[in-house]
């Protein structure tokens, strides 16, 4: 009997990554490679492989240099399953990151009070000694557990090892509790496995793609947008549920212009229809699931008519779209989304989506969800990490037991002293994440920062968070360094190499160097006992049957699946990593923690008179707040706009292109004005803006003052009780026509 449960435990797929020994994974076979299109090699002089760092998709590609040896362009690696040889606009705009003259150039040490942003340049030795001293001091006084690493970059692996060697277990990526955490927990409790990154959605073979608020196309998940395009070519149907007419909505057969915050009602009504009309996959449900009768009973009263009253979607539209999904089943995907921290009941909403997928039998089927496989890259041998005496969980006793990754916002909360806690976090190392635009309620983040004894920020650009640091360490960009071997899960297990295309500019250094030097200074050098990074990478690659030399030539190596099949085989007995061993429509894990085992609809706060719900999202030219200063990408989009419905604009007398200020329900006004875009594409009760603009750090010469920041307007946080996710869509804004009188603190 094939047990995904065992496989997960062995491979560490999705569960924080366990160190694995190399044996058993040395088997591979080369895929027959198709010859390169045309003769790119003869056109261009030199090219080096890399994988992109601009977003988290990590597409593998080639960096080309011109005759003068300067970086010229970046294109995709044809062998890469993430990019299929085509990069997205951010990846193509990578050279802009390298050439950005506003980059951090040298280590900086704070000389005046935190926040005054006065630094002096320091040598690497000085800066690292400073950090080592402080860390030792904190370990002696409070314990090494009071340090935390907050990371969203490839360097996180090295700093993570450092922190673990130091004795702390608190490593958090904001992508968990600020982004995809609720869906991971929801899918874990339902299917025994998370969704993962990249998502295991078989979009290219699906017949029906259902997007709940997900805006693929503006949200530029490279592989997924590519597969969506393939699906469109094959005649797939798209159903989009979104209060805004997104690009995906414009390509949809059914666009459900739902009232914001009511998605759960729609999902429950769909479940009701699919069960009552018996459109669900009876064989699949009988064989693989648990709790069907409880589910059927639970949704008995949740008719489309009931949902109509809540969502304003016509009942027959709900029925027609459900039928569309059922017709396509099992090649149907209720897309789990990515950033799902909306209203605080997000785990339950994701549960409803998982249940719908299970009813339609798409999990583990072609056109639905495939079984991904990873290459387990062995770790360089090191002494065992010390066992931390406390972890972040001790700051939240009894809470968030189902969260299996660290909650970044939790670390933030646990930095502020509280009577209920014996100790707080004293030091943060922040790598590759602009915390002030990531964790909502930035006032609280700043409060936490003020309580820190040490804040180290390692970044490539002078983002807002660097202004608050005690020590700023300049990391070189991904185009100038080696990094860990990419081992993301996909249909076939594969690895990708990042190697430098050029020497680091200025006095910047790669993450592995910083971590190793710092480890040496802290007496933890034995955890980084390799001499050069090339030696380490070559050793790892040789364990996998490759070598550094080979990977430098080919960039990406794909292996054959060795564990199980891409999809469930018929007649296959399956065991799922849940309490019952089955797909749990009724969640025993949630019930055990005292939460609703079946999702319920709860109404959420609506905007008061004169206010509009703040809806934020992505544009395909930018990634978070990272790329606003990139000259190539700023050329495409240099500021965001507030989308306002024409009826609303008419009431307020706002003209298209006029600059206005947004003020939220807590009286916080945006620091900079934002251009109004009067468009029919947005509902009259909402305002939409792209996230990542409104930079307040003057060192970002191109991005400073352009557009407005949605993060500063997200002051009300709706916390998900199940796993601590920070729901951000409970904020409402009104329009103002002049800036606030007093100076806003940056």
């Amino acid at each position: 009997m094939t047990s995904r449960r065992d496989f997960i435990r062995i491979s560490g797929l999705g569960v924080g990554g366990l160190a694995v020994s190399a044996t058993g994974y040395g088997l591979y076979r080369d895929l027959a490679k198709s010859p390169l299109k045309g003769s790119e090699l003869s056109v261009d002089t030199t090219r080096t492989p890399t994988y992109c760092e601009i977003c988290f998709w990590k597409c593998a590609g080639w960096v080309y240099k011109n005759e003068e040896g300067k970086i010229w362009k970046i294109i995709g690696n044809d062998e890469d399953q993430h990019s299929n040889g085509r990069f997205c606009p951010r990846g193509t705009g990578g050279p802009g990151m390298y050439f950005d003259e506003d980059r951090l150039k040298t280590p900086l040490i704070r000389t005046e009070a935190r926040g005054k942003q006065v630094f002096r340049e320091a040598s690497w030795d000085e800066a690292l000694d400073f950090i080592a001293e402080k860390m030792k001091g904190i370990a002696e006084e409070h314990g090494p557990e009071c340090t935390a690493l907050l990371t969203h970059g490839s360097g996180g692996k090295y700093f993570g090892d450092l922190i673990k060697a130091f004795g702390s277990g608190s490593i958090a990526a904001p992508s968990y509790a600020q982004c995809r955490g609720p869906r991971e927990v929801a899918y874990y409790t339902t299917f025994g496995e998370g969704v993962g990154s990249p998502e295991r959605t078989d979009i290219r073979d699906t017949k029906c793609l259902v997007l709940i608020g997900s805006h693929l196309g503006e949200n530029m998940h490279n592989g997924q947008v590519q597969e969506m395009s393939d699906a469109i070519d094959k005649g797939a149907v798209i159903i989009t549920v979104d209060p805004r007419f997104s690009i995906a909505a414009s390509k949809s057969k059914y666009w459900l212009p739902i009232k914001p915050a009511t998605d759960l009602a729609l999902l429950l009504a769909w479940i009701h229809v699919i069960i009552e009309e018996e459109w669900y996959d009876k064989e699949y449900v009988a064989k693989y699931t648990f709790g069907f009768e409880q589910l059927k009973d639970h949704v008995k009263q949740m008719t489309p008519e009931w949902a109509y009253g809540i969502t304003t979607l016509a009942p027959d539209l709900i029925r027609k779209s459900a039928k569309e999904m059922a017709n396509a089943a099992p090649a149907v995907i209720i897309h789990p989304g990515r950033h799902v921290t909306w209203y605080g009941d997000d785990t339950q909403r994701s549960r409803a989506m998982a249940i719908l997928n299970a009813l339609l039998g798409s999990w583990g089927r072609r056109g639905g969800f495939y079984n991904p496989e990873t290459v387990a890259v062995p770790s360089w041998p090191h002494p065992p990490f010390p066992e931390p005496k406390r972890t972040w969980r001790d700051a939240f006793p009894g809470q968030y037991n189902l969260a299996y990754e660290t909650i970044a916002s939790g670390i933030c909360d646990a930095t502020i002293p509280a009577l209920s806690r014996a100790c707080n976090f004293k030091a943060w190392i922040v790598n590759g994440t602009n915390l002030l635009k990531t964790i909502p309620n930035s006032k609280k983040v700043l409060e936490a920062i003020h309580e820190l004894e040490l804040l180290v920020v390692i970044d490539t650009m002078p983002m807002e968070i660097t202004g608050w640091a005690d020590v700023v360490l300049p990391e070189c960009t991904y185009l100038e360094r080696y990094d860990t071997i990419r081992d993301s899960p996909h249909r076939k297990p594969a690895i990708a190499l990042r190697m430098p295309a050029t020497e680091p500019l200025y006095n910047t250094k790669p993450a592995y160097w910083i971590a190793k030097e710092l480890a040496n200074k802290m007496g933890l050098g034995e955890y980084f006992s390799w001499n050069t990074i090339e030696e380490m990478l070559d050793w790892q690659l040789k364990q996998l049957g490759s070598s550094l030399e080979e990977m430098q030539r080919i960039g990406v190596k794909t292996f054959e699946r060795s564990y199980d099949d891409l999809y469930f085989q018929p007649e296959q007995e399956m065991e799922f990593d849940t309490n019952t061993g089955k797909i749990e429509l009724y969640s025993t894990a949630l019930a055990a923690e005292g939460f609703d085992p079946l999702p319920k609809y709860t109404p959420h706060e609506e905007p008061p008179q004169g206010f509009y719900r703040l809806n934020y999202g992505r544009a395909p030219m930018h990634t978070f707040s990272r790329t606003a200063n990139n000259a190539l990408l700023k050329d495409l989009m240099e500021e965001n706009a507030a989308w306002i419905n024409p009826k609303v604009a008419g009431e307020w007398g706002i003209k298209n292109g006029q600059y206005i200020w947004l003020e939220n329900q807590d009286g916080v006004r945006s620091s900079f004005p934002i251009k109004a875009r009067v468009t029919e594409r947005i509902r009259w009760d909402s305002v939409f803006m792209v996230h990542g603009f409104g930079h307040t750090n003057k060192k970002l010469s191109r991005a400073y003052g352009k557009g407005a920041s949605d993060s500063e307007l997200i002051t009300k946080v709706l916390t998900d009780p199940i796993m601590g996710g920070t729901g951000m869509r409970g904020n409402f804004v009104t329009f103002k026509f002049e800036p606030k009188e007093e100076e806003a603190a940056s």
Binding site: M621, D635, L636, M637, E638, P646, T679, E680, R681
Partner: protein
């Protein structure tokens, strides 16, 4: 409601938000070219009519300024070029479909001719002029004998010069405001009218002045007819032409056009010249100056407004 936007942030210098690639240099050159064409035409015409001495200002005085205004005009053109070092490429080929190529070659012909005309009449304004070199004196004698063929060539090429300034614009079908074949004759008429005005300024004899006043009135009448015809044509044409005409019929260029070009540049001078013919004493500077002003403004406005008119977005 239709919302049409460029989402990739296009902001090409001189192209966006609307085309504004030609600035003062081009209308100035067109005006000077038209003026030169007008003066040279009358000089040639009256020479061929045998009325050289009757219309001395036209034939022997006014043409002296032409070489210099052509030089100024060509210099303005050179300033406008963005790849100046390559300007000589204009003279490596004749492209019959390109009015700009015609213009380059016509100027190549007219400018030397105007210098020659000025040279053979130099003694009218500098009676004691001495060429100093025997070869130049011989050349002068030779050219004076060839006056008739020179006048023919000058007459025809000055008409081409006058018309080409308008055809230059009308060949650009991408700018709907210019895409009318009336623009050629209109600019020719405007140039002739400006030439007549300058000749009036230089004329000392009353007969010559009245003759040119009459010519000017006639040409302005033709111009007004052409302008009305032009708008009728636009309004009866496709949507982009209707929108283009709208720039002058309620759009941002309405007031400057009707006030500067039509009223001050055409109607008031006609009125004054009629009064002059009715024996009222009007200082000739006023109507002549207004005509020149109107001619210049016509070219400025057509140039700037035309760049605003467009097919897309």
């Amino acid at each position: 409601m239709r919302e049409e936007i460029i989402v990739s942030g296009r902001n090409n210098y001189l192209i966006d938000p609307h085309l504004h690639i030609w600035h003062w240099q081009i209308p100035l050159y067109l005006f000077l070219g038209g003026l030169a064409a007008g003066i040279l035409f009358f000089a040639a015409f009256f020479t061929l009519m045998g009325k050289e001495d009757k219309y001395k200002a036209a034939v022997k005085i006014a043409p002296h300024i032409v070489p210099w205004i052509l030089v100024i005009g060509l210099f303005a053109l050179l300033l406008d070029l963005k790849h100046k070092l390559y300007f000589w490429r204009l003279y490596t080929t004749i492209r019959l479909e390109s009015p700009m190529s015609w213009g380059a070659w016509v100027l190549m012909l007219v400018t030397p001719l105007s210098f020659i005309w000025s040279a053979i009449h130099i003694k009218e304004i500098f009676p004691k002029w001495n060429w100093k070199f025997k070869i130049l004196t011989d050349l002068e004698t030779f050219l004076i004998k060839q006056k008739t063929p020179i006048a023919w060539v000058m007459g025809i090429s000055s008409i081409i010069l006058g018309v080409y300034t308008g055809i230059l614009f009308s060949a650009f079908n991408a700018r709907p405001l210019w895409n009318t074949s009336i623009l050629g004759p209109l600019f020719l008429a405007s140039g002739l009218s400006a030439g007549a005005a300058v000749i009036m300024l230089f004329a000392t004899k009353h007969k010559e002045r009245t003759m040119f006043a009459r010519i000017d009135i006639g040409i302005i009448a033709v111009e007004l007819f052409l302008i009305i015809h032009m708008f009728m044509g636009f309004l009866a044409s496709t949507q982009v032409q209707i929108d283009a005409a709208g720039l002058f019929l309620g759009g941002p260029w309405t007031a400057p056009f009707w006030i500067f070009v039509v009223i001050l540049g055409m109607i008031v001078p006609v009125f004054l010249e009629v009064l002059e013919l009715r024996k009222f004493k009007i200082p000739v500077v006023i109507p002549a100056g207004l005509v020149l002003f109107g001619s210049l403004m016509l070219r400025f406005l057509i140039s700037y407004a035309g760049q605003e008119s467009r097919w897309l977005y």
